[in-house]
């Protein structure tokens, strides 16, 4: 305690000068008193004063000892070093900027990956004593399953003794209606004990529990995120009703912030209690089951009990539960398994940081080499090596701190990209990524470690400078220098080769993306298509009523200004559900492959305006029209691929297929369209008329001209005016395209960013090496110029060194690319993995960047004044 008090006083004493005078006065008084006594003892005043000073041990020494005790000298030196370091860094803005940016890239990447890893794995699981939670799994001959049927769950929950509580949940999707607007939300149907087994308390209101059987009106718990997003965190929401998929629910409680359900990456918005009456089918396995282990029971005992329960289920319901063994995986174990990919990613960014550090070490080495003379002078003037080492390390620490600060900003930027990296979807996806204390600690630790990696070796090297030879102007440690030089050359060669590989890969992926974007999709993506997905089936309407509703909506929309075409389709091409439906058909007179009686073919149901609205060309035949009514003969339009695979080279129009036991006459052939993904090869596809195959779901497709936003609002309100009870959601062709090209774009972005990073690091490394040699060869260059070499020759000399390195590196890189690019072939479309244009482009780019990187030191070398360099060296 006393020590702490003293420390505080010493800290406060920092930077105070006045106290010095105070002590000088005290010391003066001491000497005077002693002198007085000496005089009294009969000495001369001079002798008395001399004796007094001897007894004191020197006034200045005492003052120094006093000063050191008064404040913290080590801290003062550190502060001095920091100020000195800042001055040095500010004096060389180019060097500082390059070093800081390099470090920021490495540290930022590490911080970002760590944050993701932490959010995905390390952040504690949303439960009390999470280490006691375990997931029940079933092992079957087909593999492991995590899903159980609700009756099986009830049996397990009732019979298990070694588990304190067992909960079940099942993931759904619902449509939430708020203020006339509908939203897709994700909900979990959960067992009544869900929250009590997890041990979570509500933020507001009370959760449902096994005791409080819900009243006549079903209750719902909503997530903190949804509460904020949709209800503006209205505290009076608890107890009110909300509309979910055409049914009123009472809000019972708001979940605590941070609780986002049990599935990482797919946050839950709502929790609804199960109604046991609805889940009685033992065959339907749709619940995931978790249990809380009793404290006094071992894992082996629990497993033995579950084995017995599994066997009992298999005996009681052999048709369903035979050969299903029930096991247990603790949540910790599951996480550990999920850890591997994260570790690989961490290792990769760790390597990137190592390369960054190596580069910065090269820069620091080049700098300290140039400062050899300054260091030698300081050593000669009596500076301690330790003190010098500390000072050089302080400079590195400053670089690292700046790098870490910039890196944190970079990491925040990278994390902001999450929505762009997630697949486009109508619900909120993704992890809860934010910087917290542990991330900051991690960044600080990484920065400190990187100082040790890039700062220590150059600092030791520099402080070992031999004063005499340096001051005499001789080159130092020539033998050592040469070895280091080759190691650094190898490093730079590696970096350049790597950047060629990465650039080639990104070139290929980008070319593939361009190719994909030019692929014909079978409809016109450049139209302003807007899709209104409507589900009157949810309102339990009859098919006649649904059909009337669809007809009304289409008619009203078509009459609106700004609408070129309006059409109806059951499913939308290239959306999540485009190829979701298929029907088995048989074809009279055509032999199906392997003697099958029928084959499954994907289909859609559309109305007469569909082909005109989306721009799908009809190759022959006619569109559907009002004559294709429910009562008359059924018709079908087939795709070109279907026509060619079943009736190659023959007339197709007028032929018949049997679908659902009914004969359908082919009235048209449409061009092939992409159904599920842009990279699929054309396959047979059929269109049936909407009128002849009515359904409870459908999409109004609008081909808009001009401002589609205003039009969307008008059509939405028109649909709602027609029938308030039908949930509607809107998508645009732009959204569908984003979804379709997401994977390609992500790959191009990711590989492209890696390529940019690679070439940046390679350039820095090359710059470091060339600048280092230019410094070493100052005198030689001076002599050359004195002997008549021109600027041009010097430029050529230095550039030559840089370019030789770059060319060798590029050569290695090209060979490596040639060997590794075939690994990419599954990702590439419309471009061969050995595309010569891309290879030439990437190596040319690398050479160009290398030229730029060596240009700076070359210019400096060429501007050496021979007189000056010969005189000073």
């Amino acid at each position: 305690m006393r020590k702490l008090r003293a420390l505080c006083i010493r800290l406060c004493g920092l930077g105070m000068k006045r106290v010095d005078e105070d002590f000088t006065a005290e010391l003066e008084c001491h000497i005077d008193l002693h002198t007085d006594e000496g005089i009294r003892a009969g000495l001369t005043p001079e002798e008395a004063r001399r004796q007094a000073l001897i007894a004191l041990g020197g006034a200045e020494q005492t003052r120094q000892a006093y000063r050191e005790r008064r404040t913290l000298p080590r801290l003062e030196t550190l502060w001095q070093d920091i100020r000195f370091g800042l001055r040095i860094l500010a004096k060389n803005p180019g060097y500082t900027a390059v070093a800081v940016i390099t470090l920021a890239l490495g540290i930022g990447a590490n911080t970002a990956v760590f944050t993701v890893a932490q959010a995905a794995l390390l952040r504690s699981w949303p439960a009390r004593e999470p280490e006691r939670m375990a997931r029940l799994i079933a092992t079957t001959p087909q593999g492991e399953e995590v899903n159980f049927s609700y009756p099986d769950y009830l049996d397990l929950a009732a019979q298990s003794r070694s588990l304190e509580g067992i909960l079940a949940y099942s993931r759904r999707g619902m449509i939430l209606l708020v203020g006339g607007e509908s939203k897709t939300v994700l909900d979990d149907i959960v067992s009544l004990n869900y929250f009590s087994v997890l041990g979570i308390d509500a933020q507001l209101g009370r959760f449902f529990s096994a005791q409080s059987q819900p009243a006549s009106e079903p209750g719902v718990v909503i997530s903190d995120s949804l509460w904020h997003r949709v209800f503006n965190a209205d505290p009076s929401l608890v107890g009110k009703q909300i509309w979910l998929t055409n049914r009123a629910f009472t809000v019972l409680a708001i979940a605590p912030p941070g609780f986002r359900g049990l599935q990482r990456g797919v946050p839950t918005d709502l929790w609804l209690p199960t109604e046991s009456t609805q889940h009685t089918d033992r065959k339907i396995r749709e619940f995931e089951v978790l249990g809380r282990l009793r404290q006094d029971v071992t894992a082996a005992e629990t497993q033995a009990e579950l084995d017995a329960l599994g066997r009992r289920l298999a005996l009681t319901y052999p048709a369903i539960d035979k050969a299903r063994n029930i096991g247990l995986i603790s949540e910790r174990e599951r996480l550990r398994e999920a850890m591997a990919p994260t570790l690989i990613l961490m290792t990769a960014v760790g390597l990137v940081l190592l390369i960054c550090c190596a580069n910065v070490a090269g820069l620091v080495l080049a700098r300290s080499d140039a400062r050899r003379k300054e260091i030698a002078v300081r050593l000669a003037l009596g500076a301690q090596r330790m003190r010098l080492l500390c000072q050089l390390l302080t400079e590195s620490l400053l670089l690292a701190s700046l790098g870490a600060a910039l890196g944190l900003l970079l990491a925040v930027g990278l994390l902001r990209l999450q929505p762009a990296v997630m697949p486009p979807a109508q619900v909120e996806l993704g992890l809860d990524l934010h910087l917290d204390v542990s991330v900051l600690v991690f960044t600080a630790a990484v920065a400190f470690l990187s100082v040790l990696v890039f700062g220590l070796a150059p600092a030791i090297q520099a402080s070992r400078t031999s004063q005499v030879s340096t001051l005499k102007g001789e080159g130092t440690a020539a033998a050592k220098g040469v070895r280091r030089w080759t190691l650094r050359n190898a490093l730079v060669l590696g970096e350049i080769a790597l950047s060629v590989v990465l650039l080639t890969a990104s070139g290929l992926v980008v070319r593939s993306l361009f190719f994909s974007q030019s692929l014909p999709l079978g409809f016109d993506r450049h139209r302003q298509l807007i899709y209104f997905d409507m589900v009157p089936g949810i309102a339990a309407y009859s098919s006649e009523r649904s059909a009337t509703f669809f007809a009304q909506v289409e008619e009203k929309a078509a009459a609106m200004p700004g609408v070129s075409h309006a059409a109806l389709a059951r499913r939308v091409l290239l959306s999540d559900s485009g190829g979701g439906m298929q029907q088995r058909i048989s074809i009279p007179g055509v032999e199906l492959p392997q003697g099958q009686l029928s084959v499954p073919v994907k289909f859609d149901t559309v109305d007469g305006n569909y082909f005109r609205a989306v721009g799908t060309r009809l190759i022959e035949g006619r569109e559907f029209n009002s004559a294709d009514a429910p009562s008359v003969g059924r018709v079908v339009i087939v795709s070109r691929a279907m026509a060619e695979s079943f009736w190659p080279g023959q007339e197709v129009l007028g032929r018949q297929i049997l679908a659902d036991g009914a004969a359908c006459q082919i009235v048209g052939v449409a061009e092939d369209a992409k159904v599920d993904g842009i990279h699929e090869t054309p396959e047979p596809y059929m269109y049936f008329p909407f009128a002849q195959q009515p359904s409870g779901e459908g999409t109004l497709i609008i081909d808009a001209e001009g401002n589609s936003k205003a039009l969307t609002t008008r059509i939405l309100s028109e649909i709602q005016r027609t029938d308030r009870n039908v949930p509607v959601s809107v998508r645009t062709v732009h959204y569908l395209m984003q979804q379709a090209f997401w994977a390609d774009q992500l790959a191009a972005g990711f590989v492209g960013a890696l390529g940019a990073l690679g070439i940046f690091l390679g350039a820095i490394g090359l710059y470091g090496v060339v600048a280092f040699t230019v410094n070493r060869r100052r005198r030689e260059i001076g002599i050359r110029m004195a002997l008549g070499a021109e600027r041009r020759d010097v430029l050529r000399l230095v550039l030559g060194q840089g370019l030789t390195l770059a060319a060798i590196g590029a050569g290695i890189g090209l060979a490596a690319s040639f060997a590794t690019m075939r690994l990419l072939s599954t990702m590439l479309y419309g471009v061969r993995p050995t595309d010569p244009l891309t290879f030439a482009g990437s190596s040319a780019l690398v050479i160009l960047v290398a030229l730029a990187a060596s240009w700076i030191p070359a210019r400096r070398a060429a501007s050496i004044d021979p007189m000056q360099s010969l005189r000073t060296e």
């Binding site: 006393r2 003293a6 006065a25 008084c29 005077d32």
Partner: protein, 99 residues
């Protein structure tokens, strides 16, 4: 020692303190007066003593040090500890002499 001397003599300036310590030890402890001041500063920082400017017996302006309450407690504690140490040491040394 400085604390004990201050306890006996009351407020005292640095020079007086140094002389007094020398005298108490019967001139057997010849301390470098200069080392006294950092030690006094340390005690002051730790709150055992406090200082103020005053006038000495022969009319010189001097800085006087005096014990605080905490300082008095510390003297008692240190004295007790020292006594215990010497007792233990004495017990160890006594049989050795007999043998």
């Amino acid at each position: 020692m400085a604390l004990r001397t201050l306890e006996i003599m009351g407020p005292q300036h640095g020079y007086g303190l140094a002389r007094r310590i020398e005298q108490t030890s019967g001139d057997r402890l010849q301390l470098n007066y200069g080392t006294l001041y950092p030690a006094l500063l340390k005690l002051e920082q730790e709150g055992y003593i406090r200082s103020r400017w005053g006038v000495s017996e022969n009319n010189r302006r001097a800085k006087f040090y005096e014990l605080t309450k905490a300082g008095q407690r510390q003297v008692k504690k240190a004295a007790a500890e020292w006594e215990e140490t010497t007792t233990i040491l004495a017990r160890f040394l006594a049989p050795a002499e007999e043998a």
